[in-house]
Structure formats: C-alpha cells, structure tokens
C-alpha cells in the first residue's frame, strides 16, 4: 500500500497546482458547512470542475464538511451531500457524528473521514468511529511517532496524519477562545486565532512577564519531513498538508518537496540525507513561519512556541508564468515580488529539478526594457533556459 499525499486547496487554481505538483488527493471546503470561512471556498460548479480535473489525473477529492454544527446549520445538508456525491467527490471530512450518519444514509457513495476536530488520539478512540462506520480517522496532531507505532498494529482503520503546516495550539475542536474573546466561532469557520495574541502572565498577583517578550500560545508550524520515512514505514493511509488559506506557490513547493521525498522512499525503501536536504530546500521556499516537528518527537517546550511576532521569513517567490513561446524561449512573467535585471533566479516546474538562470533582458508589455521589477502583477517578457508553463513558478536563489 502506498501512502497518499493529501494537499489543501483554497480555490481551483491551487487545486490544480497541488495535483500537477504531485498530490495524490486534495481537500477543500465548499461554501457551506466548512471551517476556514475566509478561504475562497468552492462553489458547487467549482466542485464539479475540481472532481473532473482531479479524476482526469487519477487523483482523489475530499470536501470538508467539518463545522461543529448548531441545530440550524443542518438546513440543506442532505441535498448538499447528494450533490457532492453526484459530482464524484470521493470523501467527506466531517467532525459531527450526525453529519457522518446523514451522509452514510443519503450519499453512501462517498467515504466519510473523521476530522481532527474530534481529537482521536488512541486505538480505543478509533474503535468508536469504526463501530459507527467511519471510513478513515484523521488523528489529532498530538499523537507522537511512538504512540502511532503502538496504535497502528491495533487497527485496520485507515489513518490520516498531518505532516506540514499551521498547528492549532490547543486540541483542535476543543478551543473557543475566539468565540468568547471576539464572538467569532472557532468551530464554525470564524477562528480569530486569539491563541496567537500576546498575554501578560500572573500568579498570586505577581507579574511573571519575561524581559524578552510576552507569553503567546501561538504555535510554530509543523514540518514532519524528518519523520517522513517512519510514517511511510508505518503505512498510514494519508499524509496531510495543512493550508487551505495558503498561496499556490506555497502549495507547489510543499507538495513538490514531500512528493520528491516520498518518491525517493518508494524507489528504494529509504530516504538519504542528501534527498532529505533537497526536499527540505523545497519546503523552505514556502515557509512563512518557523517550523518544528510538532508532537512527533514527543512533548516540547519553547521550541514549539512562537513568542515573537516578527520572525518573518524572507519571501522567495518572484513571479508566475503566464505564457511561454517555445520558438523564442521567452516566458511572460507576472511579477509578485521585487527583482532586478541581473538577479539570479530559479525555475520550479512541476516535474524535474529546479533550473537556475539569470534574469537578463526584461521587456514590459510595450516592449520597453525594464531594469527593476517592482510593480506587483506587472507582465514582463523574459528569456528562460527551459520550457515552462502556467504551473511554473520563478523564485529567488535560496539564501
């Protein structure tokens, strides 16, 4: 059995990027019943197109129906699930027992995956969902590698674990700080990320603040690349990347990094240090927060927390590719970040190695030569050394 690489998609563009860069499956939310209310979620028409596109590549599509619903939220659920089934959606990620049972009844052609919002941490917890007919359980991010090794032989339930991306600081689904401090419902798509705010700490009327900053519950992002080989050996069913709010460039580089490492593993049964370094380089292109291995290596202290709001990571993304002329070897780039004539850049294509090149002659739409590209969305014609396409990203050399 090969483990699935599961990528997030905030919209159709990102879904297509995830698939062409090597995801085995994608997940996203519709306009209804989904967390991440601010992600540009899919319309029903988008979902139909997403299924057609993914299935044409032999990939799977999961739709999140993962709100913790209030009684009034169920209106339209049955029709919605039937429609998703008719479009060929492969699975539903849900957190509510009654949503799962409703789905099993009215749209039994789809799988029902229990969301991490249910915080399943043990084989006994998995048994609960197995008895109810769940098709997969997404484990809590708090499960360590050692615990996973104990769990796996005790169950035949397909298991999904997170490997990359933002982490809820608290148990997912068990946090309502946002509800009570901002009136935005964390479990119905409105989380204000109040955990990432800064707090004075007190004990017995004594202020405990450190000189180097206030307490924050905010978590660093997870990066489980160093545990990837172990997770693949355990034959978990799916490795999930978090980030429905992330950019297409983020999705491309993260998916490509893990795809590369997974392919290396499946080629020979292990991943070399050199291969890990290469995969890590791809992941680092996309980082927008510091990362750590999450709970995979066990409990942690300061190294898992973000105490400074200014730990920004240098943006490497320079431009999209809009068009390519095979005869002239020129590409039309859409500027996303500052670069200059003479800068060294790198071409990231869905397949193959990255290709470094120097940004030489750059022409704007009127044919004028441009020295500095600093207008977002400006279109520039640039000579590139290899064939590129609309899924290609241009980034700067890694520092």
């Amino acid at each position: 059995m090969r483990t699935e690489l599961l990528a997030p998609a905030g919209d159709l563009e990102r879904l297509k990027v995830a698939i062409v860069y090597g995801a085995d499956a994608v997940y996203f939310g519709g306009k209804q019943f989904s967390l991440r209310a601010r992600a540009s979620n899919f319309t029903l028409e988008n979902i139909r197109e997403a299924c057609e596109f993914a299935h044409s590549y032999g990939k799977r599509v999961y739709v999140t129906v993962n709100i913790i619903p209030h009684t009034g939220d169920f209106e339209g659920l049955e029709d919605y699930l039937r429609t998703l089934e008719s479009y060929g959606v492969d699975g539903i990620i849900c957190a509510s027992q009654s949503i799962m049972k409703t789905g099993k009844k009215v749209a039994p052609g789809m799988e029902y995956h229990i969301s991490t919002q249910q915080t399943t941490l043990s084989s006994a917890g998995i048994k609960y969902w197995q008895k109810l007919g769940a098709d997969r359980v997404v484990l809590g991010r708090e499960v360590t590698l050692e615990q996973l090794k104990e769990i796996k032989p005790k169950t035949d339930m397909p298991l999904e674990v997170f490997i990359h991306g933002g982490m809820c600081a608290n148990y997912s689904g068990r946090c309502t700080i946002s509800n009570h401090l901002t009136n935005r419902d964390a479990n119905r798509g409105g989380c204000a990320q109040s955990c990432r705010w800064f707090y004075h700490s007190w004990q017995d009327e004594q202020l405990l603040d450190r000189d180097d900053g206030l307490l924050s519950m905010g978590s660093k992002d997870m990066c489980a690349l160093d545990n990837l080989e172990n997770l693949l050996k355990l034959q978990v069913s799916s490795l999930k990347i978090e980030g429905r709010m992330k950019t297409a460039y983020y999705i491309a580089s993260i998916v490509k990094g893990y795809r590369y490492a997974m392919d290396c593993y499946y080629e020979k049964g292990y991943i070399t240090e050199e291969e890990l370094r290469k995969a890590s380089g791809l992941l680092q292109l996309a980082e927008n927060r510091e990362t750590f291995p999450g709970f995979y290596n066990g409990q942690f202290g300061r190294e898992g927390q973000l105490y400074n709001s200014d730990n920004t990571v240098t943006q490497t993304f320079l431009a999209n590719v809009l068009d390519y002329d095979e005869q002239t070897g020129e590409a039309v780039l859409e500027v996303r970040n500052h670069f200059e004539k003479g800068d060294k850049a790198v071409i990231m294509n869905p397949q193959g190695d990255e290709v470094p090149f120097v940004l030489e002659r750059m022409l704007d739409e009127e044919g004028n030569e441009v020295e500095i590209a600093n207008k977002p969305m400006q279109r520039l014609r640039v000579k590139v050394p290899v064939k590129v396409n609309s899924y290609t990203f241009i980034h700067s050399e890694r520092k």
């Binding site: 619903p69 249910q118 084989s123 969902w129 769990i151 600081a169 309502t176």
Partner: protein, 289 residues
C-alpha cells in the same frame, strides 16, 4: 427538584452539602482529571460507600495510546468502588467501559462538540447515559436541545467557562521551569480581564469568566433537563457552598436572581461573571439573519 451535581475539591466538603438540593458530587482523580485537587481511589471509594451522594469522577483529559491501559485499569477500580459514573471528554472512555462491561454511567462532556440536537440524539443512540451540552451556544439553542432530547441532557449552570484545552505546557514553556499543578492568570495585552490557566502534566486548561445562572435557574428547574451541574474547577469549596446557598435562596423565592448574583459577587470580588443568558450567538449566526 432537578438533580444537581456539584464539584468539590475537599472530600470533607461533602459533609456540608444539602441532601435536599444536591444529588451527587464531582471529584477529581489522581492523574486523569483537569482540576488541581486530586483524590486517591481509596478516598473516592470511601466517599462512594459512605456519603449517600452519587459520586462522579471527572475524566476530562484526552488520553494518548500510552495512557489507555491505565485508564482501563482505573475504570475497573471505579466500578469496584461503586462510583456512579464518569464525566468524560474522550470517546475512548466509552469504548473502554463497554469492553470491560462496566456498569459505570458514562456522561459525555466534550465542552465544545455538542452544539445541536442531532449530535446529542446520536450520543443517546450510541448508549451514552447522559451528555453535557456545550456551554458555547445561546440559551435559545440550549432550550431547543433540551426540548428535543428530553430528560437526557445535563447542563452546566455555574463555574469557570473552559476556553481551551491543550497538550502543551504553556507557562512551563514560557518561563522555562516546571509549572505543573499550578494556577496562573493570563491577561491579553490590550484587555483588563484575566483568564485563569491551570497547567498539569496532561496539558493546559484556559478558563474565561465564571458562568452563572441565577436569572435562569427557576426556568431550568421546570425544563426537561436531566441534571444541572455546578462545576467550579479551581474555585474554593467555600465559594461552592456559598453558590449552593444562594441558588437555594433564589429557588425558594427568598432572594431575587439579582440579589443572588450580587451576594455572590460580594463573596469574591475578583471573579468576573457571564450569565447563561448572555452567551451570544456568534458572528456566523448573525450573518445568516
């Protein structure tokens, strides 16, 4: 009179409880509960055998694979101790109780997850003896659930509102010292009110204002709720006894609801309150309208 369950820190407090008002007590275990007080199985056994109160043990942590074996053994002890039931957050507890064929009542209290009548009905169908409805939904939704799933639900009417539960040790990590089994307060940097945080080996619990239901207690007594819960977590037993006294006075008509909360405020000036009827509809509800 509806059943009323109340949390106690000291087992000696049980002797001071009014049998006419209180049906049972909620106590913390050693190692498997969120609160700061903890009681050995011997003490819990003694309480269950001699107090004439139903004894409920709080098992409100989420249990990793490594702890499941210990929880299983502990549940057997609780059965032998004639404990009435367990208040649990982790569905795994239900599986263990079934596998061990125990007669312990399983009261599912996931804090955030039971926010609609359909999921509550599902829990009843799956054999949970009772469920504690989420404290994060407005009172109108609470009554809707109580009316649709009658004489089954438990409702928390008083006590600090749990805002979050994490496996992380927030204060220990921040201060770089072991802060387990200690009570702290966090104050968001732009606000005045403070939030209590308990840190234990099993993680960190963050609490907001203290929920109170003086204005609603009489309506709740005539509603189809199965039991009401006063769960004061880290607050003192003296405070809990004062709460009970004041709720009793409001129920008997000796005090108005306003007088009840005013007197409780006077008992401890540092506690901020949020009324059960003040739990607001969240933004998504408003957007729908």
């Amino acid at each position: 009179m509806k059943k009323l369950f109340v949390s106690v820190n000291s087992l000696d407090t049980v002797k001071k409880l009014d049998r006419n008002l209180v049906e049972g007590v909620i106590v913390n275990s050693q190692g498997f509960s969120s609160g700061l007080s903890a009681h050995s199985i011997e003490k819990i056994t003694e309480l269950a055998h001699h107090s004439n109160f139903k004894v409920i043990v709080r098992l409100d942590c989420l249990y990793s694979e490594g702890l499941i074996k210990d929880v299983r053994v502990y549940l057997r002890y609780l059965e032998e101790a004639d404990v009435y039931g367990v208040l649990c957050t982790d569905l795994a507890v239900k599986v263990l109780v079934e596998e061990e064929k125990l007669s312990l009542k399983v009261i599912y209290a996931p804090e955030t997850l039971l926010t609609n009548c359909y999921d509550v009905e599902e829990m009843r169908n799956e054999g949970f003896d009772h469920c504690v409805i989420s404290k994060d939904i407005p009172l109108s939704d609470v009554y809707d659930i109580l009316n649709r799933v009658q004489n089954y639900c438990w409702l928390r009417i008083h006590g600090p509102i749990l805002l979050s539960y994490s496996a992380r040790h927030y204060v220990s990590s921040y201060l770089e010292r072991n802060c387990h089994n200690e009570l702290f307060e966090l104050q968001e940097s732009t606000r005045n009110d403070r939030l209590a945080m308990i840190e234990k080996e099993a993680g960190s619990w963050l609490y907001g204002a203290c929920l109170e239901s003086f204005g609603e207690i009489r309506n709740l007594m005539s509603s189809p709720v199965d039991a009401l819960v006063i769960d004061n977590i880290y607050l003192s037993d003296d405070y809990t006894l004062r709460c009970l006294e004041l709720y009793k006075s409001v129920l008997s008509g000796k005090l108005t609801a306003e007088q009840g909360i005013d007197l409780l405020r006077a008992f401890d000036l540092n506690i901020n309150y949020s009324s059960l009827s003040e739990i607001r509809k969240t933004v998504l509800d408003k957007e729908k309208k």
